[in-house]
């Protein structure tokens, strides 16, 4: 594996992403967790840039790092939180989870590295332009796009209805 700029960038972003994720899992205060997650989202945006998807990177920052994180913070602020100040005991549940998830990860990694489908041969890289994305979006995927817009509308209304305080009679 030759070390080049892309590799270094990938290395930095991935370390940041994993680190953010691990911090999110291990921090005790909810607000800190949210910040750690935002960090991860941001790193993923960076990875998108490396993957020739600048538009997606922008979207990632706008929606995840911006909107979703803020939404989460609102969610945190609207509910009361008993901060997990003391370290939760290491239960059977956690052990099993660790084993299960660890096993899952091992299997997936094993598959990724074993599969000739992914690893052999010279990877062919395709370069895209944002215009290609726009064309695909509004020509080939017109109908799903419209359906998605309806979905968003429904989610919007649904969220309002759900979160609305029920009137007492």
């Amino acid at each position: 594996m030759n070390i080049n700029g892309e590799f270094i960038a990938f290395f930095i972003f991935s370390v940041l992403a994993i680190g953010g994720a691990v911090f999110m899992i291990n921090l005790t205060r909810v607000m800190h967790m949210a910040l750690a997650l935002a960090f991860t989202f941001f790193s993923i945006a960076g990875l998108y840039v490396l993957l020739d998807a600048p538009f997606l990177a922008v979207i990632q920052i706008l929606i995840y790092t911006g909107a979703v994180s803020i939404l989460m913070i609102f969610g945190i602020m609207l509910t009361k939180h008993k901060d997990e100040d003391k370290v939760a005991p290491f239960t059977v549940h956690k052990l099993l989870s660790l084993l299960g998830v660890g096993g899952f990860l091992a299997i997936v990694i094993w598959i990724i590295y074993r599969n000739p489908f992914f690893s052999t041969g010279e990877p062919q890289a395709a370069a895209f332009k944002v215009t290609d994305l726009g064309k695909a979006m509004f020509k080939t995927y017109m109908i799903p796009f419209e359906v998605t817009s309806i979905l968003l509308l429904v989610a919007l209304i649904g969220a309002i209805v759900l979160a609305k305080r029920e009137e007492k009679k």
């Binding site: 989870s97 998830v101 096993g103 899952f104």
Partner: protein
């Protein structure tokens, strides 16, 4: 002129009257109702007489006609009409008695609020009975057979609010149903064997020797079981006396003159079948003979005026069966006819007695009616003399024919039975007569309307003179046998038999006179001399009780047993299955602790295990 239509003119008026009365139950007044009823049966009577005349004149059977009612297995099942002399004779008897009873009922039932219903049932009965007697095939016979049965049931239970009427109606239906099943099985088996319901096909099959003699005997006996049920022969006789709970005109029409004679008619109509099997003939003769004397003895000890007549009917029907069983075809049919007249007369007269005594039916409380109502007394006397077999009344001739054919057939034991039964008949009929009409008792009487007296007079005349169609010219025999049954000519008359019969009857009458007419011999003392016998007769040989304890109670007990079995074993098993699945569900539901995260964990772990095991299987398998 196509004579086919005549038959419909006989059949349809009562049916139309029935439909009209059912539809207009609320609208029709009593006068209108009775008018319709009488008119419809009157039309039937007129046209049956027309048929009779043409049958007599042409000497051969009238053209039959049929239409296809149903197709079974590519065989058309026909409905139709046959007009052999026997059918025509029955047609006339039925329409005549029905017509008279319709008239009579307008007087007898005038105070009943369900007058229209009563008339509609009568009309339906008349229709069914007329249909029965012109049926050319067994299926049609069975259909009308059941219909007359149901009319009888409805009319017996006409006064539905009386518990006795309810019981009697139920009994009448069920007991005759038992007999009907015999007929049902016979019909079905005949169809399975020869592929047709038509009587002439069956006759052809027998003549062609297609049926084994065992089969013929079986068919004959099954058909006879049907006749036993309908005609109240032993052991299915118990319903008939109970059926007297119905209104008296009904008793006269259905349970004396027409429907109960249907069994006899059925046997006569399929006589060639019975003739082909000597076993069947023996069965008929012995059942008939036994019933004749059995019912006669019960008749001696009864106290209800209608029940006495009912047992007398059973006995007389036994007589007819006895005649048929002894190849006395003409004698049986002849007696059927004369019996229809004099028994209808007796019932109608009994009805008049009941009306004039303000609905009293117990003969122990009667007496002295002669002085109050001589006309009625004469009518009743004619009936009694006729049934007792005193010349020149009709019963004498027909009974004589029966005894003659039994004797000629070589059944001497049964001949003696017949003679004794004749004695008993004369005795209990005159016991009844003297109890009701003799004595110093001065009853308060009600007036008997003309609508009731008129029909009785007609019947009395017929009872008195009907015997002369067979004596001395053998006119009836010649006519009936033109149908093609050459072997049925009656035997030559033997002079001493009628003499013997008359003497025996006179003895019976004299005995009744001594005991009840002038009270020379105290009847109570006789009863006390043999208390067990008397008790036995009063309780009708305990046949009802026996049936109750041998059939009804075990059936009920078995039913309860099955009920327990059904509820606790069968249903219990079901409940157990349900219970087990519920329990399993309960256990399963405790695994559902509601923690979505646990579920997720389980699925992740399971997924891992699944993949690992799949891989392991691939690696090591």
């Amino acid at each position: 002129m196509n004579k086919d239509w005549f038959v419909l003119l006989v059949l349809l008026p009562p049916l139309l009257a029935f439909l009209l009365m059912v539809a207009g139950r609320r609208i029709l007044s009593k006068r209108m109702t009775s008018l319709f009823g009488v008119l419809s049966t009157g039309i039937s009577l007129v046209f049956s007489l027309v048929l009779l005349v043409s049958s007599l004149r042409s000497g051969v059977s009238l053209p039959d006609w049929e239409f296809t009612w149903l197709t079974l297995d590519k065989k058309p099942i026909q409905f139709g009409v046959t007009l052999q002399p026997l059918n025509v004779l029955m047609l006339v008897i039925v329409s005549l008695v029905s017509f008279l009873v319709h008239i009579y009922s307008s007087g007898y039932m005038k105070d009943d609020e369900r007058f229209t219903v009563f008339y509609s049932y009568l009309a339906l009965f008349t229709f069914s009975m007329l249909g029965l007697v012109i049926s050319p095939n067994l299926l049609q016979i069975y259909i009308f057979w059941e219909l007359v049965g149901v009319c009888s049931f409805l009319l017996v239970g006409f006064w539905y609010f009386k518990p006795e009427a309810k019981r009697a109606a139920q009994k009448a239906f069920i007991v005759t149903r038992i007999g009907d099943i015999g007929l049902f099985i016979a019909i079905a088996m005949i169809f399975a064997k020869i592929g047709s319901f038509e009587l002439h096909d069956l006759k052809g099959a027998i003549e062609a020797g297609k049926l084994s003699s065992g089969m013929i005997t079986l068919f004959a006996i099954l058909i006879f079981i049907g006749a036993v049920g309908k005609s109240g022969q032993f052991p299915l006789h118990t319903w008939l006396p109970d059926a007297m709970e119905g209104p008296t005109p009904v008793s006269a029409l259905i349970h004396a003159a027409t429907m109960v004679a249907a069994g006899v008619y059925l046997v006569a109509n399929t006589f060639w079948l019975f003739q082909a099997s000597s076993v069947a003939m023996d069965v008929i003769a012995y059942v008939g003979g036994f019933t004749a004397i059995f019912a006669a003895t019960i008749g001696i000890a009864q106290t209800d005026i209608k029940r006495i007549l009912a047992y007398s009917t059973v006995s007389q029907l036994g007589y007819m069966m006895l005649a048929l069983g002894s190849v006395g075809y003409v004698a049986g049919v002849f007696h059927l006819m004369t019996h229809a007249f004099f028994k209808a007369l007796l019932f109608l007269a009994a009805g008049a007695v009941i009306v004039s005594l303000h609905h009293e039916q117990d003969i122990r409380k009667m007496g002295g009616l002669w002085k109050k109502n001589k006309g009625l007394g004469w009518l009743f006397l004619i009936g009694c003399l006729s049934i007792a077999g005193i010349p020149p009344f009709s019963g004498f001739f027909s009974k004589d024919e029966i005894l003659l054919s039994v004797y000629a057939n070589g059944r001497y034991g049964l001949f003696i039975v017949g003679v004794i039964a004749a004695f008993l008949t004369a005795f209990y009929m005159f016991r009844l007569f003297f109890k009701v009409f003799a004595g110093s008792h001065e009853p308060k009487t009600a007036r008997v309307p003309w609508s009731m007296t008129g029909p009785m007079i007609v019947l009395a005349i017929l009872s008195a003179v009907a015997g002369f169609i067979q004596f001395p010219t053998h006119f009836l025999e010649t006519w009936l046998i033109t149908g093609g049954m050459k072997s049925l000519h009656g035997p030559e008359s033997i002079a001493w038999i009628p003499v013997l019969a008359v003497i025996v009857s006179l003895l019976g009458i004299s005995l009744a006179y001594l005991m009840y007419g002038v009270n020379k011999w105290d009847s109570r003392r006789v009863a006390q001399a043999v208390p067990w016998l008397h008790q036995c007769l009063v309780r009708k040989y305990y046949v009802d009780e026996m049936y109750h304890s041998l059939i009804v109670l075990p059936l009920k007990g078995f039913g309860w047993l099955l009920q327990v079995w059904d509820r606790y074993v069968i249903d219990g098993l079901v409940q157990l299955c349900g219970w087990i699945s519920m329990r399993v569900g309960k256990i399963g539901s405790t695994l559902q602790n509601g923690q979505a995260q646990t579920y997720a964990l389980i699925s992740v772990v399971s997924f891992v295990i699944l993949i690992v095991s799949l891989l392991a299987g691939r690696l090591f398998g």
